[in-house]
Amino acid sequence: MSELSYAEAIRDGFREAMRQDQSVLLIGLGIPDPKGFFGTTSGLREEFGGDRVMDMPCSENGMTGVVLGASLNGIRPVLNHQRLDFALLAMDQMCTQAANWSYMFGGQVHAPVVFRMILGRGWGQGPQHSQALHSWFAHVPGLKVVLPSCPQDAKGLMISAIEDPNPIVYIDHRWLHHVRGPVPSGHYRTEIGPLRVALLGKDVTIVAISYMVLEALEAAERLAAQGIEAEVLDLRCLRPLDREGLLRSVRKTGRLVAVDQAWACAGMSAEILACVVEDPQTCLKNPPRRVTLPDCPTPTSPALAAEFYPRADHIVEAVLEMFGRSREPGELALQPGIEYDKPNPAFTGPF
């Protein structure tokens, strides 16, 4: 066990999987770049060589099909995108092709390929560099979708994703890269499917995705100070969805808040609520709540972006309302001196 950043944990995951299996290939625009793809590929080219850690043309759509084809023929590729938005050029290859190949050929072929994409946020990423569209992929049978929120899972889920016989969408949030935590050394898998109970509690279930797990944990701490014990679930896999894990918690607490830094309409937060309200054995004490993005594109101006992103404050407010406490004026006001468009104070841009 050692203390690593999330970015280093991804790199460790790559390294373990590549040491284990010669057929693992890391590819993407800028994969061997001097900044190591936000530090997630640093040193790998030196260890594994240019044939296994390789750059590619600026051709997301074609290259997605190319790595899919390679995966049908003995290679285990990980195709990396600096932003989720760039991967959207390849929706046909991911959703219509990769997701369907096992099924439509009667289980004769397998596509062990990972589509990794980074979810951008802050510092003027704006409408085209920060779209949180993970729900799109969660919609598609044949894909598996993971969004780890802690370094340990970042590594374990990367290894599992690479070693899985199916196409996997692996999404890491830009604001998690610097977050540090304990990471087991060596090769290990984190099972794709089960959610992670990030904090035990009995009064309310807060289900959060990716970076929002951090905000949910902060909210839980503040709620604890008010005598409310929140259970925080880290929904690290959107598909398959751990419905049992979700229901187990909500049956205990009777209250549900789904937190997703994404749009609410037809999104993952809606699926979480549906899963709970459909269950005949789960009785909610309050109507469920969602903490999500406002229904508009990401603005670039820091002034608008600060209002745009939900924070722990919003989660606390949603829970307190369930407990009959109405909002106090100024509760959600932005605090002076906080730079809401930065992942950490050391960040100075530009990307």
Binding site: P34, P57, W123, Q128, T300, A303, P350
Partner: protein, 310 residues
């Protein structure tokens, strides 16, 4: 060129103050492409661009104050603070938009040209793109359609040898030139020294004449070099993806320096003239910066998501 250079340098200098909180892609070293091209276009002609669009916007006549305010995320920005550096627009001068998804404005620019043709109009549309955009499938689909329908579009491809940190060698075959890809789509194409503003201008004049005459699109590959880091205000030759010697080599081909020397020795310009011009531009930039800082931050998250029926 001088104006573009000074604006970009002013942005680079101001950037560390963290009042321009968005990614910026500067065109320092590549000014001749924008200046030479825009000088050969009519004011009414249309243009679109990508992530590195400050120069194209300014050369086409885009409002400097609105651009600076946009970089600062202010209400008086050219996108009312919603876009930032990577999304510039000034419809009053035919600069119809820039977006940072590589290649994405190419078909949209072709669409502008398609509409021009459908409506019997004669404006030419310039689609600015980087050489990496020719690697996207959408470039080929757009080129094919433009060629098929002889659309009045001018592809202006800046080949600065890199896509972020990735050199041409890992992206395109060494034995064929970028412009030859356009030729294969049946589009007349050629390569020009993108650091020579007169060569750019002359070639664009000819290309525009071709496009305007109804013969269809034209593709120009302009060889040039980005001086600063791909994104951001600094230099990055030290991090190892390219050689300092290569940069210094290209610096000797500084479009601004070389062209002003040429004009001076031809007696068309004086040192004092250049100095005066710089002073004037610097004052204009200072005024634009002050304008940006004075402009309020925008409010209203939900504004503009949908257009309203007039």
């Amino acid at each position: 060129m001088l104006r573009i250079r000074l604006v970009e340098e002013a942005i680079a200098d101001a950037y560390p103050r963290q009042e321009m909180r968005c990614p910026v892609h500067l065109s320092i070293g590549q000014e001749a492409v924008a200046a030479g091209t825009a000088a050969a276009l009519a004011r009414a002609d249309l243009a679109m661009s990508g992530h590195r669009s400050h120069a194209h916007y300014l050369a086409k006549g885009g409002d400097l104050r609105a651009m600076i305010a946009e970089l600062m995320g202010r209400q008086d920005g050219c996108c009312r603070g919603r876009g930032g550096s990577m999304h510039l627009i000034d419809r009053s001068v035919g600069f119809m938009g820039a977006v940072p998804i590589v290649g994405s404005t190419i078909p949209i620019a072709v669409g502008l040209a398609f509409a021009e043709k459908l409506r019997g109009q004669t404006r030419v549309t310039a689609a600015f793109l980087g050489e990496a955009a020719t690697e996207e499938g959408v470039f080929h689909e757009s080129a094919n359609f433009a060629s098929l329908h002889r659309l009045p579009v001018l592809f202006v491809c800046e080949n600065n040898l890199y896509s972020v940190y990735s050199p041409m060698a890992v992206r395109q075959p060494a034995h064929r030139e970028v412009f030859e890809v356009a030729s294969a789509h049946g589009i007349p194409a050629c390569q020009v020294d993108g650091n020579d503003p007169e060569a750019v201008f002359n070639q664009v004049v000819a290309a525009r004449r071709h496009v305007r005459s109804g013969q269809g699109p034209f593709f120009l590959e302009l060889k040039t070099y980005r001086w600063r880091e791909h994104c951001g205000p600094g230099f990055d030759n030290h991090i190892g993806y390219r050689k300092e010697a290569e940069f210094l080599d290209w610096k000797k081909r500084d479009p601004l320096e070389n062209y002003s020397r040429k004009l001076i020795s031809a007696g068309l310009l004086t040192e004092e003239g250049v100095h005066e011009l710089s002073e004037k531009i610097s004052a204009e930039i200072a005024e634009a910066m002050a304008f940006g800082r004075k402009s309020p931050f925008p409010r209203g998250l939900a504004d503009f998501v949908y257009s309203i029926q007039p």
